[in-house]
């Protein structure tokens, strides 16, 4: 709210951060571990008086220089750029609080660069004792860089008492500092071993290839073991909520962790099978598999670490959308839009409901949700919810899903957000709830407000099959026993009865009143478009994309009016257009 939001609705900032940071950490950890690998590879060459191994080491140093100095250092700057673009408030807080930590890191980065150049360009041109010392200077500088960054970014996940006092050293030596440092040190060495394994696969001299393959595989296996043990130590120091997210409560972590585990397993198999037992199997495709496995391990870890902070970007201090936790109460009473700087609607009225809602969406939801994009698409996430359901859900969002930040603002602002999502994005009716009389009439409304964010009524039919009214009422009071992601229904006794009655009467959905998309097309589109013309326009587009486009026709082309049909008609039209895209009509 203090800073503008870089709004790329279909891309999302989170995707860009993930893309740059995962690739960067894969190289930057190589930059640390690779230093030690080079020292020991050179020592091996010297000890065995093997010029071919020294040649291999020099060649690997060149590869190391090209990868780490160019991609590694520039993508490191890239992370700084992208986090400042996507979350300037958090970046500013960390930069201002830890400026001298970053500055010290810059000093080590400078020494690291100088030492890397001297190491490579003076290979074989200075006495080996001094040359190894240069290698050690490089490695120590690189490791110090890692240690400093580890302290600063660790505070984002485990701030400890820094969250209250903002003291530099308290934050730096945060609860996860040491486990994370050990974990990162060994994952850096493991990645370095994989890069060494890759270099070995490109070596033409068979003896060197086998020797360096085995050398690399030993490194990889030993370090992988320490990575796993220190990973458990790391996990043990996470605060309760973060621990819960890692252990399965976060859908995004649950999706990624199996990939990380697959990476570990695959790496173990490759290094054992085609490293220790049969080093001659280290062919280029096998080495590439090892690299992909290592990337999965590293990527899985980074993704998990990022997601475990949710709903915060800096745990217990700042939510993912840049709102400080300490400001929430004030913003709830005084209004979010009145305090937000980069908005055009400072108040909400009936006239600007959707526009204000869009600004709230951009400022509060876009940090994690795209609009019509692949990553966490808000349209997909809310497709089953009506305006009324959204109004209720938005106010309870953090209670229902811990990993989402609470909605911040007045009730009216919450309605504006619901109006934007339901009305503008889905083309659904935006009507305030009407007072209705009678148990049966209130049941659907209660369901909509309290359950529809996660369930369709029809889906619950089989779960409630055979249960009487009293049993359903009892279940509603103990929903948390069914799943710890649910909370007991908080309505009055009467509302329990009304909701139970509704659930008891719900039957499996029978399709009725089917709307023909072709008819909708005739009624709404044929005054300007024919089928062949439309076919060209929707070619290669997915159904969801077509559906989204129908919600913003006027933005696609100024001359087009907005689609005036209701939600079902829009769905039917999207189906029809998809069918002509696939060769129908």
């Amino acid at each position: 709210m203090n800073y503008p939001v870089w709004y790329l609705p279909e891309t999302g900032g989170g995707f860009l951060i993930a893309l740059i940071s995962i690739l960067h950490v894969f190289v930057s950890h190589f930059a640390v571990g690779g230093g030690l690998y080079l020292i020991y590879a050179e020592k091996k060459g010297l000890k065995e008086k093997s010029q071919p191994i020294l040649d291999f080491t020099k060649k690997h140093a060149r590869f190391f220089l090209l990868v780490t100095m160019v991609f590694g250092s520039i993508s490191g700057v890239g992370i700084w750029f992208i986090i400042a673009l996507v979350n300037p408030a958090a970046t500013s807080l960390l930069i201002h609080n830890f400026v001298f930590g970053w500055a010290a890191e810059w000093v080590f980065f400078t020494v690291e660069i100088a030492a890397a150049f001297v190491y490579y360009y003076m290979f074989g041109r200075m006495d080996s004792k001094t040359h190894l010392k240069v290698g050690w200077l490089y490695f120590i500088s690189a490791w110090m860089s890692l240690a400093l960054i580890n302290g600063i970014i660790g505070v984002m996940l485990t701030p400890g008492s820094w969250a209250e006092n903002l003291d530099f050293w308290t934050g730096f030596f945060n609860p996860s500092f040491f486990p994370s440092l050990v974990f990162r040190t060994f994952i850096a060495l493991m990645i370095a071993a994989c890069y060494g394994y890759l270099s070995a696969s490109f070596t033409k001299d068979r003896d060197v290839r086998i020797a360096m393959t085995r050398f690399s595989a030993k490194w990889a296996l030993v370090t992988l073991l320490v990575v796993m043990v220190s990973g458990l130590w790391y996990l043990s120091v996470l605060p309760g909520q973060a621990h819960g997210l890692v252990m399965g409560k976060s859908p995004t972590i649950a999706t990624v962790l199996p990939w990380g585990a697959a990476g570990v397993l695959s790496l173990l198999l490759v290094m054992l099978g085609a490293g220790i037992l049969r080093p001659s199997f280290n062919l280029r495709p096998v080495a590439c598999l090892a690299m992909v496995s290592a990337l999965l391990v590293m990527g899985g870890f980074e993704w998990t670490r990022e997601a475990a902070r949710r709903p915060y970007v800096i745990n217990e201090v700042m939510y993912s959308n840049g709102i400080l936790k300490k400001d929430v109460a004030d913003l709830n009473s005084g209004g979010y839009l009145r305090k937000a700087l980069w908005v055009q609607n400072n108040d909400v009225s009936e006239d600007n409901l959707a526009q204000a809602g869009q600004e709230i969406f951009i400022n509060q939801c876009y940090a994690c949700h795209t609009v019509g994009g692949r990553n966490n698409d808000i349209i997909k996430a809310t497709s089953s919810m009506s305006y009324r359901a959204l109004v209720s859900y938005i106010q309870r969002i953090h209670e229902v899903r811990y990993f989402m930040p609470p909605f911040v603002g007045t009730e009216q602002e919450g309605r504006a957000l619901a109006a934007y999502i339901a009305g503008d994005l889905h083309g659904k009716d935006v009507q305030e709830p009407q007072e209705v009389a009678g148990d049966i009439a209130k049941g659907p409304a209660l369901f909509e407000e309290n359950c529809s964010s996660c369930h369709a009524a029809e889906d619950l039919v089989s779960a409630l099959d055979g249960q009487g009214q009293a049993e359903v009422v009892e279940s509603l009071k103990t929903l948390n026993e069914i799943s710890d992601e649910m909370q007991p229904f908080s309505g009055s006794e009467e509302e329990h009865e009304q909701l139970a009655t509704f659930l008891g009467q719900t039957e499996k959905e029978e399709p009725e009143d089917v709307i023909d998309g072709k008819d909708v097309f005739k009624n709404h589109c044929t005054m300007c478009h024919g089928v062949p013309d439309m076919k060209r326009r929707v070619v290669n587009r997915e159904r969801e994309e077509i559906f989204t486009m129908l919600g913003r026709l006027e933005q696609l082309q100024r001359a087009m009016p907005p689609f005036k049909g209701n939600a079902q008609e829009r769905e039917a039209l999207a189906d029809f257009l998809e069918s002509i895209n696939k060769g129908g009509e």
């Binding site: 520039i74 750029f81 500013s92 201002h96 030492a115």
Partner: protein, 358 residues
């Protein structure tokens, strides 16, 4: 008139003067390295295209040095970018978002340019006549980065343009339409090419014992480039001065003692540097030029605070004192300098050993 949008700054751990000092110390290092990169590469391209033995040798020496120079341009850019974020973060973060698409493009562009530089270096001979074109590509990409930086530095200093966000939410706002943009950019660009001439001359000097002909040629080309480009750049400098809003221009014309003195000192240093280049006295030219770059960073600083003075002054930054991290940084800096000194010494010793006859 649209209301100004000025974000709240975060607190700082020590007085702003420390950060200003660190900014003014580190930024000239970045500028000098950037000038060496851009100007050196431009001269290298011209030498390579012109052909001739010594010209190609010079182009090759420049190609070899280029990756190292780029590494230090980036590295020396990190520190001032850090300190300017501490002092003016609320403006810089905002302007960066406003031109987000271009700002983030700097990263892939720089990676391509950097790999281009390595390619030019490692394949200098094999590339043959295609070599200069690889170098031209790298040079063009680096100029584009400079163009984006200039846009951001001007945009952050002119928050009256921040309202443009509402029509550029996807981060496509640039500031090259402002009257002072082009003279500012061109002044920096030609200044970089000129100082790059001195880098080329210096590079030649490093090879004096091995290849005196190359050293002489490099010095001649470098000093001539500096002389011609700096003479022209004086005119661009005056254009830049006149293009500034009158209130800001007058800072350098008597309304602010520091800014005005800096301009006067800068003009004296220019005169000294031109005299040195004309008389072919390298070190005289070099020291004047380095001094000039340092004074220019002071002038930039006054100009920026002049742009922002109605909405923000550095004195407004709230200090929540914590000095021990700064002491830690200074100790680290001393250790780092000792390490760099040791590396240079050992490298020099190795070179001397190599040069010694068996």
């Amino acid at each position: 008139m649209e209301p100004l949008i000025i974000p709240q700054p975060d607190t700082i751990p020590v007085s702003w003067g420390w950060f200003q000092f660190l900014l003014l110390v580190t930024f000239p290092l970045h500028l000098l390295a950037m000038n060496a990169m851009l100007g050196g590469l431009a001269i290298g391209i011209v030498q390579h295209i012109r052909g001739g033995t010594v010209q190609k040798q010079l182009a090759h020496r420049i190609a070899i040095a280029l990756p190292l120079v780029i590494a230090f341009v980036v590295n020396f850019g990190v520190a001032p970018l850090l300190f300017v974020q501490v002092l003016y973060g609320q403006f810089l973060y905002s302007s960066s978002v406003l031109m987000g698409v271009f700002w983030i493009l700097i990263v892939p562009i720089l990676i391509i340019a950097y790999y281009g530089a390595y390619f030019y270096d490692f394949r200098f001979t094999q590339l043959g006549s295609a070599g200069p074109w690889v170098a031209v590509l790298a040079f063009s990409l680096l100029v584009v980065i400079g163009f984006f930086f200039s846009n951001n530095m001007l945009l952050m200093a002119t928050p009256e343009n921040f309202g443009g966000y509402f029509s550029h939410k996807s981060g496509t706002l640039l500031s090259f339409g402002q009257p002072s943009f082009w003279p500012r950019f061109l002044h920096m660009f030609f200044g970089a090419l000129a100082i790059g001439g001195l880098f080329v001359a210096l590079l030649g000097r490093f090879r004096k014992d091995v290849n005196p002909e190359l050293a002489e040629h490099a010095e001649q080309v470098g000093l001539n480039s500096f002389l011609i480009l700096t003479s022209g750049n004086i005119l661009l400098g005056f254009w830049y001065l006149l293009s500034l809003p009158k209130e800001l221009m007058m800072l350098f014309m008597g309304n602010h003692i520091g800014a005005t003195s800096s301009l006067c000192i800068a003009l004296l240093l220019v005169a000294g540097a031109l005299f040195g280049a004309w008389k072919k006295r390298f070190w005289l030219t070099f020291y004047h030029a380095v001094g000039l770059v340092v004074v220019m960073t002071f002038m930039r600083s006054w100009l920026r605070s002049g742009y922002l003075k109605d909405v923000f002054t550095l004195k407004e930054l709230q200090v929540v004192p914590q000095y021990s991290p700064m002491i830690f940084f200074f100790i680290t800096l001393v250790v780092g300098i000792v390490c760099l000194w040791w590396l240079i010494k050992k490298t020099r010793d190795a070179f001397l050993m190599e040069a010694e006859p068996d």
